[in-house]
């Protein structure tokens, strides 16, 4: 009995090993799915669709985008964490999903570090702090001075509780030692509408969302949460130039696989993604939306996830931010 069982096990292991090898060799041999944790139409969806389209060409198999929105990316993350690690289910993952949410929700049904195999970070977008064009505040130091003179009197809109917009606002408060009233909205469009309509004094949102309003002269950009300026808004100073060098907060997007994916698959995908990332067409495609194309190794992506997770954990603790 015992022998029979071990033989079965050995055979099964062998069979698995063989299919595993065969998998890597002719991978991919059928269509792939790229899970996008947001509804169609936004920045994440645009990035996901572009990479899906490009990967279809380079892998020779269609890559189908599967939008699984909900629960601030947790639904998609859980689905991917439970998917077969055969390399046919990929996911676009965001900083919110891998570095922020785990710090806010203790009862997540997935582990952001252990349940996924990072493949490559593909894109990033910094945030912008903006005020109405008619506001008398015209620089970050002026905003900080005003906020210090009238603690708690100024308010800022964010695209939601526990989002990168919100945490960037909290980071600003933390670094500058000021007190701003946080007013959460249901997404970026109403948050920016809130600033345009004068409900709030300041808005913190992504470069993608705010650049058109700043270019059109409706809003003024005070600072970009990045070490360098963006060609999209040459007039808006970087964090260092604005006198707050630590005020760096970037929303990134990367490709991950479910845990247990074979290293050969990760390598093959990361290679294909690298080629797409280096093509000038890709950079050009995203430049006007303020999205920077990133490239890097699986190890580099893992490091980024861990670093940002720790950093946002500290901001969340310092700002006593809870969703409970």
């Amino acid at each position: 009995m015992k022998l029979a069982r071990s033989v079965t096990f050995a055979l099964a292991a062998l069979a698995l090993g063989i299919t595993g090898l065969a998998q890597a060799d002719n991978y991919p041999s059928r269509p792939l799915t790229l899970v996008v944790p947001f509804p169609p139409g936004g920045a994440a969806d645009t990035i996901g669709r572009y990479y899906a389209e490009q990967l279809s060409t380079s892998l020779g198999q269609p890559v189908v985008v599967d939008n699984k929105p909900g629960a601030g990316t947790a639904i998609a993350a859980e689905a991917v964490a439970k998917a077969k690690p055969d390399g046919y289910t990929l996911s676009l993952a965001t900083a919110g999903q891998l570095a922020i949410l785990p710090n806010l929700q203790k009862d997540l049904r997935y582990d952001p570090v252990k349940d996924f195999v990072p493949v490559a970070v593909v894109a990033s977008v910094p945030n912008v702090v903006a005020v109405q064009a008619s506001s008398k505040i015209d620089s970050l130091p002026a905003l900080i001075a005003e906020a210090k003179a009238r603690p708690g009197a100024l308010s800022y809109s964010s695209c939601g509780n526990g989002t990168l917009c919100h945490l960037s606002g909290e980071l600003l408060k933390h670094l500058s030692g000021t007190d701003l009233l946080h007013v959460p909205y249901k997404g970026s469009a109403p948050a920016v509408t809130g600033l345009l309509g004068g409900e709030v004094d300041v808005a913190v949102d992504t470069l993608t969302v705010l650049a058109p309003q700043i270019q059109a002269g409706k809003l003024k950009g005070l600072v970009l949460t990045s070490a360098e300026r963006s060609p999209l808004l040459p007039g808006v100073p970087s964090a260092t130039e604005a006198g707050l060098p630590g005020f760096v907060a970037s929303g990134w997007f990367g490709i991950v696989l479910p845990k247990g994916a074979a290293p050969e698959l990760v390598e093959k995908l990361s290679g294909a993604i690298g080629v797409i990332a280096r093509s000038p067409q890709t950079a050009e495609r995203f430049a006007q939306n303020g999205i920077s194309v990133e490239q890097g190794t699986p190890a580099g992506f893992a490091e980024l996830i861990a670093e940002d997770g720790k950093r946002w954990g500290e901001v969340i603790e310092a700002g006593k931010i809870t969703l409970e």
Binding site: P39, E53, N67, G162, K218, L323
Partner: protein, 500 residues
């Protein structure tokens, strides 16, 4: 005349063979997804988004917007014929539209819905062309305090205007408010009534509730009626509205257009609120409100005009400011991004052919829809002759596909079935579902804006009375409550009751 110059640019852009073709494709598809219950423009546009890569930006936007307003035309068809909202914005059309169909007046209801939609669409587009920018700026003045007061008015009106038992109407509204609480609270991020189910953390989708309570429940209820194997319609009757129908309808169409246009522009607006508001106003203004629910043509003409007007004007914030006010508009912004156009305030100046071409094509699309829909009335009405053992299973199938396609979620399909059973219970208890839907729609908006207004005023409740627009809305609300207590209205209520 600047407007004429602009329209000339638009005509030039819209009347290319390519753009005309995609306009036609868009409105035809829109009519189709409108007719199919559950399947809506959001899912359709999302599915078609990748296909638009190969099109010019104008053609892509023209086609996608055609799907949206085309669905407003198609949605009424299913509502009138089988008492299922083909589109969530045609929920109220079920009330009187289907009652008309039962009396053999389906043709008239379908025709007036199409004509009303066309008139409303044309007027709303004219408004869009003439005053898009100032309207968008004005809508920005509508802050959280104003929003709250408007929602309060809507809720109070919902109870005043409900049929039959006031107590049941209040109970249903409250249940709707409770259902609206499910999900993550915008202000604190706390999850409420989600029972640890991640799928509930964004709340229950309106499509799930409306398909369940109206659609599935109606099908269950139909199983126990005896109607010789056919959907329950006495006779088809005349296909075209009578002179009396037109006389009764023209004012509701105009009022619906006005209301729908205004509510469409507001942030977070769209086609849905307008249709509810229009139904309530028509019932209030009617000389014999007891006709409502029994097949009053005003109850079809008003809401159908309002939802199409709202669909057109909800383009304003997206086109003028680059800020999408609902899911469909977010997809339109996404389509622009695919084509390398950054949605924002600069689009009108930098790409006039795109903006004005879209506007002219929208009117062309509405014309196409009228031409498409009036002859179709005869064909749709014949659909009622299909035996229900064939009709209802296929409707159920489309309901499931439609509900699934909203979030690609199986959970939503199961939840729809649960709401179907609940809806059947309501039919048995003679509880009207319309106030529940309204409570569900308005409750979350009301709470979100109440708390935002209070947050911004640092806890000072006088903000609702010191802002003029908000104060006006509150005064109107108070008047409505006074009217409810007035003896005259109570008398009409009695009449409506005794006729039952």
């Amino acid at each position: 005349m600047e407007l004429l110059d602009h329209l000339a640019i638009g005509l030039q852009a819209a009347f290319t063979l390519n753009n005309l073709l995609y306009c036609f494709v868009g409105v035809t598809l829109g009519t189709l997804v409108g007719v199919l219950p559950g399947l809506g423009p959001v899912a359709t546009i999302a599915m078609l988004l990748p296909i638009t890569y190969g099109l010019t930006p104008s053609a892509a936007l023209i086609m996608l917007s055609g799907i949206y307003y085309g669905a407003q035309y198609g949605g009424s068809t299913t509502a009138i014929l089988v008492n299922l909202p083909g589109e969530s914005s045609s929920v109220v059309t079920c009330l009187d539209g289907h009652a008309m169909a039962r009396k053999g007046r389906a043709g008239a209801a379908l025709a007036i819905a199409a004509i009303g939609s066309f008139v409303a669409g044309s007027l709303a587009i004219l408004l869009l062309a003439a005053a898009a920018t100032p309207l968008a700026e004005a809508a920005l003045k509508f802050g959280p305090a104003e929003y709250f007061s408007l929602m309060l008015l809507g809720l109070v009106a919902a109870i005043v205007l409900a049929q039959g038992d006031v107590l049941k109407a209040i109970a249903m509204t409250l249940l709707g408010l409770l259902l609206g609480l499910v999900g993550t609270d915008v202000n604190s991020g706390v999850e409420r009534f989600t029972f640890g189910i991640p799928e509930l953390s964004d709340g229950i989708s309106f499509v799930v509730i409306s398909m369940g309570i109206f659609g599935i429940a109606e099908i269950i209820a139909n199983l126990e009626r005896d109607h010789g194997g056919k959907a329950q319609v006495a006779r088809v009757g005349s296909l075209m509205p009578s002179r009396d129908d037109y006389r009764r309808s023209w004012k509701p169409i105009l009022r619906g257009t006005g209301l729908g246009s205004l509510l469409g522009i507001l942030p977070g607006g769209g086609a849905m609120l307008g249709s509810f508001a229009s139904y309530m106003i028509e019932k209030r203004l009617a000389r014999e409100p007891e006709r409502f629910g029994q097949g009053a043509i005003e109850g079809v003409a008003g809401p159908e005009s309002a939802n199409n007007a709202g669909a057109q004007t909800s383009f304003i914030p997206m086109l003028v400011l680059g800020l999408p006010s609902n899911a469909v508009m977010a997809l339109m912004a996404g389509a622009m991004m695919i084509h390398g156009i950054v949605p924002g305030p600069q689009v009108i100046d930098e790409r006039p052919e795109l903006f004005w071409g879209l506007i002219v094509s929208m009117w062309l699309g509405n014309l196409l829809l009228l031409v498409l829909n009036l002859p179709l009335v005869g064909i749709w009405v014949r659909l009622l002759a299909v035996p229900y053992r064939l009709l209802y299973p296929s409707i159920l199938l489309f309901c499931c596909i439609g509900v699934y396609s909203v979030n690609n979620s199986l959970f939503d399909v199961l939840l729809t079935v649960a709401f179907g059973l609940l809806g059947y219970l309501f039919i048995k208890l003679r509880c009207e579902p319309a106030p529940l839907l309204l409570g569900y729609l308005l409750g979350p908006l009301m709470e979100e804006n109440l708390r935002r207004a209070m947050l911004l005023s640092r806890g000072d409740p006088t903000v609702f009375f010191t802002r003029p627009l908000s104060l006006t809305l509150l005064i109107v609300t108070a008047l409505v409550v006074l009217l409810m207590c007035s003896p005259r209205l109570r008398a009409t209520r009695q009449v409506a009751f005794s006729e039952d």
